[in-house]
Amino acid sequence: MRGKSVGVAGAVLLLTACGGTVAGGGGGGGGGSDEPVRIGVITGLTGAYVQLGEEQRNGAELAVEQLGGQIGDRPIELIVRDDQLKPDVALREAQALVQEEQVDYLTGCVSAATTLAVNQIATQAGVPYIGTCQTEQLNRPPNYDADLTYHLAPTPSQAINAGSPFICDQLGRSVFLLMPDYAFGHEQEAAYKQAIPEQAGCTVVGTAYFPLGTTDFNPYIPTIEGSGAEVLVFGGAGRDQVSFLRQVDQFGLTDRFRTFLSIEDLSFDQELGFDLIDGTWAMAAFYWNVEDEGVQEYVDAYREAYGAPPGGYGVYLWNAINLIAASIEDGAETPEEFREFMEGKEVSLAQGEMTIRACDHQALAPIVILEGLAADEAESRGGDGQWGYREVVETLPGSEDYAPTCEEVQTEFQRAG
């Protein structure tokens, strides 16, 4: 029974030592004039997309540093947590941030599954959440809360509506889609199948899905070759993209098909290298070499702080924190006032000119089309011998035209009740 008595003694000791916790309940929140602004960031710092997660943390920390660590008289308290890319961990960390740390704002995410989990907690707790990864579901029922949910990353359909004219006009009129078999891929497929036929004479001639975590794309080669397509659109990210491009290159497919990557990120590019990137095209919501004052300010600061240009994911966090700062300086203290500030907001930040439309809190920001370069073109066309993997060939400004109209959104909300 010794263990038991030790246990009891320990419990009593801890009981007297600590107050708080589940039993004690939290302290008082609420923003006074010099009360700190607490911003919680939840992102994937372990798991398959570590680099994107680390970049989000960098973007957030950079923004806080540039603001001098405070907004007006209120110091900023930035709390970054790892969601391991797992929804249950995201839920737990979100609850910890809300209950334990009493955060005023939540932001960050690199996968749809975790963003929806965090949003769930945020909406229950009445904390504004600024989503930063590409999904159609965040600002749609049952997830969207008009008082609290915001989305800074483009939805897949926005990007695809913007990029499809380029695919059809510049690359070819018959398209084969190779998509990852999860929500992100399904959303892309639906968007392409709607947008491609809208271009004159352009068709989707075939689609194939690959399961999560596929490393072997060999079995897809005959289907792609037999499809007779001119353009091969690939919807996977990260490791999938690296494995895919390596293998289609070995088969010599990149010479015979025009390959278009639905999502580009500098961290993927680094793993691909010029050899594989050369002769492909890609689409992104952010690229470091876009000619825009706001973008370049951010890129310069980021390079100075971290020694390399930023990829596409830190920018959302940088923007989110700057938007929060601007709202507070504007006098917005409560979630209601934040909503008022955000709705219809037109700003030019590190994503370029951006509007946050009122009806679904979706950011309408530019999409860029990129052409892959060879190593010897990097300096002249890519703007940098080391990092100039791609040249920006087209910039499509953020526009209502690429998103579902607000009426369509309204009817969707009404149908869901």
Binding site: A48, V50, Q51, E54, D181, A208, Y209, F210, P211, L212, G213, T214, T215, D216, N218, P219, Y220, I221, P222, T223, G226, R239, V242, S243, R246, Q247, Q250, F251, G252, S267, Q270, E271, L272, G273, D275
Partner: protein, 285 residues
């Protein structure tokens, strides 16, 4: 019909690498009687060593010779230190130990080499395609198939034709008897573990140019290699070879007709095999 054949050929090619991983796993299981959960992580370590060697020497060729040696040494070291205390204990203990080792290896590599993957280029010599009539294959993949074939043949000869192989095979049958005959059995266990790890290392080297090299690369493929071992029959040499190729072909054909199911088909196949042939396709009954 043409497409069907080319799909089968590609499946066989994909299965070749699985065969290599499954063989190492199976060899270790046969003699040491536990499932080496860290096999995938060791394969990853082999791939990393290769990627650094390739950068240092400017070519993948030296890695193909050096990595198996390095990995065999690493394997022998691991066996002598942390695997050995597991003998005579519950099978589960060794499995869980290697499970923990997997975490250590993956995170260790991440700390040293970073979270991002590393590039390994296809050797200059093999950057072309070969037209086999029905299907055009990258020369590099053909090279992979040849190397896998050589390794399989080499292992087979080693086990069949050498005295050491004889003892190993006898040990797989009945190690109590072997020990009773006065054979220093522990030394053979070290040897077999080192050999299994070396084979995983070769698989790692070969995979580099196909998928790139990254810390989690062993995780998914390890589960598939388990499936291959079980379907082929635990401890069965040719079982692993046949099952590896079979699963490669089955996945490849599923991709053609219903790509969504490609990921789940190996598991369904395993359930079916387990139901009708409990010891696997070529396992001893």
């Amino acid at each position: 019909m043409g497409q069907l054949i080319s799909q089968i050929v590609l499946g066989l090619v994909s299965g070749a690498l699985l065969v290599l991983l499954a063989l190492g796993l199976n060899l270790i299981f046969g003699l040491l009687e536990f499932i080496n959960f860290s096999h995938g992580a060791l394969y990853m370590v082999g791939a990393y060593v290769a990627s650094y060697l390739a950068v240092a020497t400017g070519s993948l060729w030296p890695a193909l010779l050096v990595v198996p040696v390095v990995m065999a040494l690493l394997g022998a070291g691991l066996e002598r230190t942390i695997i050995r205390p597991m003998y005579g204990r519950d099978q589960v203990d060794a499995l869980l130990l290697t499970f923990g080792l997997t975490y250590v290896l993956i995170e260790g590599v991440r700390m040293i080499a970073g979270s991002g993957g590393r590039r390994v280029s296809t050797p200059e010599l093999l950057r072309f395609q070969v037209d086999l009539g029905i299907v055009r294959l990258p020369a590099y993949l053909l090279f992979v198939v040849v190397v896998v074939g050589l390794v399989v043949a080499g292992l087979h000869l080693f086990l069949r034709r050498t005295d050491v192989g004889l003892i190993v095979r006898a040990g797989i049958r009945d190690h109590v008897m072997i020990r009773a005959l006065g054979v220093p059995f522990d030394r053979y266990r070290t040897l077999v573990f080192a050999l299994g790890v070396a084979v995983a290392g070769i698989a790692g080297v070969l995979t580099g140019p196909i998928t790139g090299v990254y810390p989690e690369m062993g995780a998914d493929i390890l589960i598939l290699a388990f499936v291959v071992v079980v379907v082929g029959g635990m401890g069965s040499f040719w079982g692993a070879v046949v099952a590896g190729l079979l699963i490669g072909v089955v996945v490849s054909l599923t991709t053609l007709y219903a790509s969504v199911y490609a990921g789940i088909v190996p598991f369904v196949l395993m359930i079916l095999v387990m139901t009708f042939r409990p010891r696997g396709l070529l396992g001893a009954t």
